[in-house]
């Protein structure tokens, strides 16, 4: 018998003018001990399905049609109180971000005990024991002691374990995991997935995993449902769906996933994916302002040479120097970036990779070491004119497309700002022309200049960021996790765009990412960072085929296996 049975589900969000249908005609089943994955890009309605099952649809959303059965009992029409009793008791839920899922002001124990006692008739002592057992079961050592601690005393991965323990508190029959590993580092992600798989089998729990990550799907699910714009486009066994996708959308989605195992020159451009638009006007780079030879001094050898770079932050200030405490973010890092190449830096969060980017651009001042850009030593620049000359040669693209654009400026002004500031154009009309061309070139079209950033999707905003970065005609571009906030299909487009631009303009790039697969697609050479140190620098292929450093090997081993995924479309690229 199926633990969960969803029949013809339709979820509506009535708006002021029209009704938005978030999910329609969804049919899903899960058996006990099995894991069903729901995959799709943002806005596909996958989270809506999970929320509908547990009865936590955001107001005014509601189930307009269809039925939800738990162990054969219909639950979608249950009154509020009875539904509340099912939550936690029969259906557990795991949220995406372990940092915000736990009440910061309550100990882990009190959150566990209150949940246990809400659902099970246990004394507080018994509940406490059960809490310790659970914490043990999710793999947190010293359970009896750690349980007394507050969430902020746990690391991200540990917190997600606590969240899982909380979800499993009252022995639910169904667990809904909404993007359970998205916010975690690769190594932690692998552990958590492993744990979920294990618990699912041990406790015979049915699990609904909602994710955008094909790797996760491939790793742990038995069945998979692919959603696109609120509709189920493909549903079947994981092997079948990933290996031989039938629906065009699934095919394009899979083909857009960067693989660590193979390198493609370009991601296939798939029509099915939301159109980002292609340049409406082809620009001849050789004659255009963008491609005009820049008056940068010629460099022979590497463009950027980093030597013994050190950076520490003061964690605890004090008047007495000996009592100050520091955090060493970057330790004695040295590497070169050759002209025209893309140098990748990969590492987990906190490894210091972003700090290096900020040191090169001058956002931070290093505490030691040297950065040689061309023939100029950046750390000793004093003269403001020299600094500006350097700033113009290097630009940066940031991770978060939402906060990297000033919400109160029009797109045109955002892109024009560096041009005007560095006086790269003589007349306003010329600036205007350049901005329009830049917008065209990154695929947005000149009309986009009139709008404000919030009117664009994440991928489009990242294109605006790129246009702004290009507006100084830099020769060195730093990309700090430029696609980590984007859906795979959009990511593929942005990566293609970056590749194109690099080739056309002969840019040198520093590409920073936590995602080995993306790094592999983009970079010529790669440096691996851990705890502020550079473990290994190698050619891209060498690194993936024959890693030298232990940490590199470990990282590679933790990559979700993508072998299941169809390779059908890749050849067409």
């Amino acid at each position: 018998m199926n633990v969960l049975d969803i029949k013809d589900l339709r979820v509506e969000f009535p708006g002021r003018k029209s009704v938005f249908v978030a999910a329609e005609g969804v049919n899903l089943q899960i058996e006990a001990g099995k894991i069903l994955g729901v995959v799709g890009e943002s806005g596909a309605g996958k989270s809506t399905v999970g929320n509908a099952v547990i009865g936590l649809l955001q107001e005014p959303g509601h189930i307009a049609n269809g039925e939800v059965y738990l162990h054969g009992a219909r639950i979608d029409k249950l009154p509020y109180k009875q539904m509340r009793k099912l939550r936690g008791r029969k259906i557990g839920m795991i949220f995406q971000d372990p940092l915000t899922s736990l009440d910061p002001l309550q100990t882990v124990e009190s959150q566990l005990v209150e949940t246990i006692r809400t659902h099970l008739p246990l004394s507080s002592k018994e509940a406490q024991n059960r809490a310790i057992e659970l914490i043990n079961a999710v793999g947190i050592p010293n359970a009896a002691e750690r349980i007394k601690q507050y969430p902020h005393q746990f690391s991200g991965g540990m917190r997600q374990r606590v969240v899982i323990a909380l979800a499993l508190c009252a022995e639910p029959e169904l667990v809904i995991a909404d993007e359970p590993t998205t916010a975690l580092d690769v190594s932690i992600q692998a552990q958590i997935l492993e744990l979920m798989k294990k618990l699912c089998a041990e406790r015979n729990v049915a699990m609904l995993v909602i994710t955008h990550d094909m790797g996760v799907i491939a790793d742990i699910t038995d069945h998979v449902a692919v959603m696109y714009r609120g509709k189920l486009v493909e549903y079947g066994e994981t092997n079948q769906v990933l290996g031989e996708p039938r629906h065009a959308y699934t095919q394009s989605l899979i083909s857009a996933v960067p693989r660590p195992d193979i390198r493609v020159e370009r991601f296939p451009v798939v029509d099915y994916i939301e159109a980002a638009g292609t340049p409406q006007k082809q620009i001849d780079i050789s004659t255009h302002w963008l491609g005009k030879s820049r008056d940068y001094e010629a460099v022979s050898g590497p463009l950027v040479q980093i030597r013994e770079l050190d950076m520490h932050f003061e964690v605890k200030g004090s008047v007495i120097p000996s009592r100050r405490k520091y955090f060493q973010a970057v330790k004695s890092v040295s590497f070169d970036i050759e002209q025209g190449e893309t140098f990748g830096v990969v590492g987990e969060s906190g490894s210091g990779k972003s700090t290096i980017a900020r040191l090169i651009t001058g956002l931070y001042e290093p505490t030691g070491g040297s950065i040689l850009f061309g023939k100029t030593e950046l750390t000793s620049l004093k003269n403001r004119r020299e600094v500006l000359a350097m700033r113009r040669q290097m630009q940066m693209i940031f991770q978060d497309p939402y906060s990297s654009l000033n919400a109160r400026m029009r797109v045109r002004d955002i892109i024009a700002e560096p041009i005007k500031f560095h006086k790269l154009a003589s007349r306003n009309s010329e600036v205007r022309q350049i901005v329009d061309d830049l917008l065209d070139h990154v695929g947005l079209g000149a009309a986009a200049g009139q709008k404000f950033p919030h009117e664009f999707s994440g991928g489009q905003r990242q294109r605006i960021s790129i246009a702004r970065a290009l507006a100084t005609r830099p020769r060195f571009l730093i990309c700090d996790e430029p696609t980590s906030a984007l859906d795979v299909s959009i990511q593929a487009q942005i990566l293609n765009l970056l590749k194109d631009l690099q080739q056309e303009l002969g840019l040198t790039m520093l590409f920073i990412s936590h995602d080995l697969a993306v790094i592999r697609q983009m970079c010529n050479r790669i440096g691996v960072m851990k705890n502020g140190e550079l473990c290994e620098v190698a050619d891209c292929d060498t690194l993936f085929e024959a890693p030298q450093h232990e940490y590199t090997k470990q990282l590679l081993s933790l990559m979700p296996s993508m072998e299941l995924l169809s390779r059908a479309n890749l050849e067409t690229a």
Binding site: S403, H422, F452, S465
Partner: protein, 176 residues
């Protein structure tokens, strides 16, 4: 901010009272009718600036870490321009909200100062002075002297709040 902390130890009404006293001491020789108005404005401003400073500081600390500010720095734009062009428009929201509440507070403080006998000169009546004067006539049956300015003030405050809400939304391109 230390100055702000110190000033917080003086409540607004005392500050206004003291500034008024000091000003009268310094400008005693000058025509009060002309200056009372400005003295009052200055003393009210000086007693309310702390709240704005603190709020803007709080929002700025959040905004300055956002990537758009870093992007501007990478371009090479100097700090002053970043502050004025990028950060300032983004921290105005909460300022407007306090401003609307503080408008009421300023009028009320002005009334209180009049109650204490140091408000606007009687030849230049203000809403606050009217309430303070009407206060003396409450028992004599002439309740309307105080009630109507009071009502006017309440309606004004209500409207300014609505205006503030509207302004906050109107200035936010996200909601346009």
């Amino acid at each position: 901010m230390r100055i702000a902390d110190i000033q917080l130890t003086f409540p607004a009404i005392l500050i206004a009272l003291l500034i008024d006293g000091v000003a009268a001491g310094i400008f005693g020789g000058i025509d009060r009718e002309i200056f009372a108005f400005y003295i009052l404005i200055v003393s009210l401003a000086l007693s309310f600036w702390v709240q704005y400073a603190r709020t803007v500081r709080g929002s700025t600390m959040v905004e300055k870490n956002k990537e758009y500010v870093q992007a501007a720095r990478v371009i090479g734009i100097p700090a002053v321009i970043i502050m004025v062009r990028h950060i300032l428009p983004n921290v105005m929201g909460p300022v407007l909200v306090i401003a609307t509440i503080n408008l009421a507070l300023a009028i009320v403080t002005e009334a209180t100062l009049s109650f204490l006998g140091v408000g606007m000169p009687p030849t230049q009546p203000s809403l606050g002075t009217l309430i303070a004067i009407g206060n003396d006539f409450l028992y004599s049956g002439e309740w309307w002297i105080a009630i109507f300015p009071g009502l006017a003030l309440a309606i004004l405050v209500l409207n300014v709040n609505l205006l503030g809400d509207w302004l906050r939304d109107a200035l936010n391109p996200k909601l346009r």
